[in-house]
């Protein structure tokens, strides 16, 4: 351990958003976007570890071909793992924590446009979370996080309604965050902060907010219809009563595919910042990376049909959706190429955030490319609903988004807490996560192509070897996530005091705003004169407008 445990020097810290006010009232009634970001950080981390426990229990169950916990329990495990991870961790995590904390200082604003709505969105998130957890405690749901009718409306006798209400409520938290970001980015930029000088972090979150605002209401109404159908059995999704279950799948995936872009776009947003800072170079093709975020947001709404290739969708609609799914892959590819090109002739250093960035580029590439397999109709017929799909979306979500989230947390840890985390522990944890992740999910690609279906509590014995390898990887991955939890909480109190700009990164939040920032982020209103990522100091404009 390189850093000696010297007690931190007792200088009187200048007033900042943490020590300006104490007591639970200062936290639960705060309208300071930074404190709300921390409230979100603690609650989201809690949900992440609850979801993680369900994941580890699933992997334990899959050690044996006949399963450990029995079918019913396993069905509830994978359903709750899906619901908690998707709706209570992946969707809100980066926007509500890093986005909330950093967008105002990055654009030179004192706070978000609607601070009270920001606090309201946290309360709504907590209410939705509590309702979903009561569904867990009272016996769980066994429909899968996709709630397919007619099983969820007529045949399942578990707490589907309770879970649906929890998600319905939590959806509004996502809508309000998106609304807040859109208005803030439009109306509250500092003088001189033109659209072509916006950090790509803000571009990424702006695109994410568009999806949150336009997609989330559709799943809200879908869950309302699901709940009504479960009470009244009117038959809107029930084929025996004239309804069509494929309509539910359409309405569900209209939101749920753009939702995966809500999850990955903030990850990409963090990536642009990390790669630029640790290569000490402006992002290669700033305009292309910014526009590809918005392109992903728009095209993301046109591709949901690739979830229905085998579900009875008409062949022509499947063909159209398959083609559009290839079109939406192009912007993601552009982003990855631009990050790689940014390192060309840069000055690359290997602190923890950059290690997570390397992990992201590698794993997100594999995740994206396996997405092409699923967009190709003939292969999708073979691999959909198998472990190939499981591996694909975990590569994109855990390999991509969670890696970027960890990288972002480490990158802005000094700005948030005013302390430095232990660098070597950080690097070690990043490598453990990378190894554990690949060991967990790469075997699942092979399992998938061999035909092992998803959501199976027991499976034919010939798949056991790969499942055992995957479970071993899962335990390594779990260790990889626990280590940062420990040293970050330790560093928050005992870490060495951080200078204002430990990485000497560019950006208003590092250069103009003290560390940790005061309640209104700046001592004097910043005026922006140079382009974003002006590491080389030449300051030539990048015109994208």
């Amino acid at each position: 351990m390189s850093t000696t445990l010297s007690p931190p020097p007792r200088i009187e810290p200048r007033p900042n958003y943490l020590n300006v006010d104490y007591g639970w009232r200062s936290w639960l009634f705060t309208t300071d976007h930074k404190r709300i970001a921390l409230l979100y950080l603690f609650s989201i981390t809690a949900f992440f570890f609850v979801g993680g426990i369900f994941a580890v229990m699933m992997r334990i169950n899959l050690l044996q071909p006949e399963g450990v916990f029995g079918h019913d329990t396993y069905n509830k495990l994978f359903t709750m793992h899906g619901i908690i991870m998707v709706f209570f961790f992946l969707v809100p995590s980066i926007p509500a924590t890093l986005g909330n904390f950093l967008i105002p200082p990055m654009i030179g604003a004192r706070d978000l446009a609607f601070p009270r709505i920001n606090l309201l969105s946290w309360y709504i998130y907590i209410v939705g979370g509590v309702v979903a957890l009561t569904a867990v405690v009272r016996g769980g749901v066994d429909t899968g996080w996709t709630f397919y009718a007619p099983f969820s409306t007529t045949y399942s006798n578990t707490h589907v309604l309770l879970a649906a209400i929890g998600i319905f409520v939590a959806g509004f938290s996502s809508i309000l965050t998106g609304l807040n970001f859109i208005v803030t980015v439009h109306k509250m930029r500092a003088p001189g902060m033109t659209w072509s000088r916006l950090p790509l972090f803000v571009w990424g979150h702006y695109a994410t907010s568009l999806i949150q605002v336009l997609g989330t209401p559709v799943i809200a109404i879908t869950l309302v219809l699901l709940g009504l159908e479960r009470i009244l059995h009117a038959g809107i999704f029930d084929p025996n009563d004239g309804g069509d279950p494929v309509l539910f799948q359409h309405l569900f995936w209209f939101y749920s595919h753009p939702a995966v872009y809500i999850m990955i776009l903030p990850g990409m947003a963090v990536m642009s910042e990390i790669v630029a800072c640790f290569s000490r170079k402006a992002i290669f093709g700033y305009g292309f990376v910014a526009f590809s975020s918005v392109a992903i947001a728009v095209l993301g709404f046109l591709v949901w049909g690739h979830h229905l290739f085998v579900a009875g969708q008409s062949m022509y609609a499947s063909m159209v959706f398959s083609f559009l799914s290839f079109v939406v892959a192009v912007p993601s590819a552009i982003k990855v190429f631009n990050w790689t090109a940014t390192m060309y002739k840069g000055s690359v250093s290997f602190e923890t955030p950059m290690l997570y960035a390397f992990g992201f580029i590698g794993l997100f590439t594999i995740g994206g490319l396996t997405g092409l397999f699923l967009a190709t109709m003939a292969i999708d017929v073979h691999v959909t609903d198998t472990y190939f799909v499981i591996a694909h979306f975990h590569y994109v979500m855990v390999g991509g988004m969670v890696m970027a989230y960890m990288g972002g947390l480490h990158f802005w840890f000094p700005k948030i807490t005013g302390r430095l985390y232990p660098e070597n522990w950080g690097r070690l944890a990043a490598m453990i996560v990378f190894v554990g992740f690949n060991l967990t999910f790469f075997p699942q690609f092979i399992l998938g192509y061999q035909g092992m279906p998803r959501r199976y509590a027991s499976y034919p014995p010939e798949f056991q070897t790969l499942h055992v390898m995957s479970t071993a990887g899962a335990s390594v991955l779990a260790v990889g996530y626990i280590i940062p939890l420990i040293y970050m909480t330790w560093a928050w109190k005992y870490g060495p005091i951080s200078p204002q700009n430990p990485w000497n990164a560019k950006g208003l939040e590092w250069e103009k705003s003290p560390t940790p920032p005061p309640t209104f982020n700046f001592d004097t209103q910043p005026i922006v004169t140079e382009p974003a990522y002006n590491y080389s100091g030449t300051g030539e404009e990048v015109e994208i407008g």
Partner: protein
């Protein structure tokens, strides 16, 4: 929130201006844009139901024609007129607020509220009529023409889902109007700052537009085919 004096030199504290805004123009534009983004989410919220409606209208055109005979076009038409009048009085209320005429503002707000209540009352009459005919989807549902029993139940389900959600938005709108009237009575508004009136005006017009589409889709179409 502890009222921390903003360290940054702010213009003399305009009425209702929040600390983090530079000036009231920026605050007004932010509120308007925020309201429009909210209305965007409402469009997609009702859009989901319109999606379900278009699919089932396309799948079961004959069943739809037979159910629309049970829709009371006179009440529906009159209700449309009521809502258009309420939009009209609402827009006059916003204009009165803009000119700082407190008495006119309150009278227009009250008339908008009254028209809203008339609409909800007529909606109750329609729902009661359906309740009497056992047309409420669920276990007690009955339908004259056995050919379309299942399809009729789906279409009545969509009818109640859409008009019910619309009525819910009307009730919320009425609540907002009541708070506006209370605030206006305590002359919280002035010619410089009347943003809440404007925002709730936008919301009210949106609810009216939803009904403008609901009325022909549910009541008129299918009479003849």
């Amino acid at each position: 929130m502890a009222d921390i004096p903003a360290p940054i030199g702010l213009p003399p504290h305009a009425q209702g201006l929040k600390h983090h805004f530079d000036d009231s123009a920026q605050q007004l534009e932010s509120s308007t844009l925020g309201m429009w983004v909210f209305l965007l989410t409402e469009v997609m919220f009702f859009g989901g139901m319109f999606g379900g409606y278009t699919v089932y209208r396309n799948l079961y055109p004959e069943a739809f024609a037979s159910t629309s005979h049970f829709m009371n076009v006179t009440i529906g038409g009159f209700n449309t007129g009521v809502l258009i009048c309420s939009s009209f009085t609402m827009v006059l209320a916003v204009r009165a607020a803009q000119l700082g005429q407190k008495k006119a503002l309150i009278s227009f707000l009250v008339s908008t509220l009254a028209l809203g209540c008339v609409f909800l009352a007529l909606k109750y009459v329609e729902y009661h009529e359906k309740w009497v005919d056992h047309h409420i989807p669920g276990p007690g549902f009955q339908y004259a023409d056995p050919r379309y029993f299942h399809q009729a139940q789906i279409l009545f389900f969509l009818y109640f889902a859409m008009t019910g959600m619309h009525a819910l938005h009307m009730i919320v709108g009425a609540g907002l109007l009541i708070t506006l009237i209370a605030m206006a009575a305590r002359n919280r508004f002035s010619a410089e700052w009347f943003t809440p009136v404007e925002m709730i005006g936008l919301y009210w017009h949106f609810v009216d537009i939803v009904w403008i589409f609901l009325f022909p889709l549910l009541y008129l179409i299918g009479h003849t085919s």
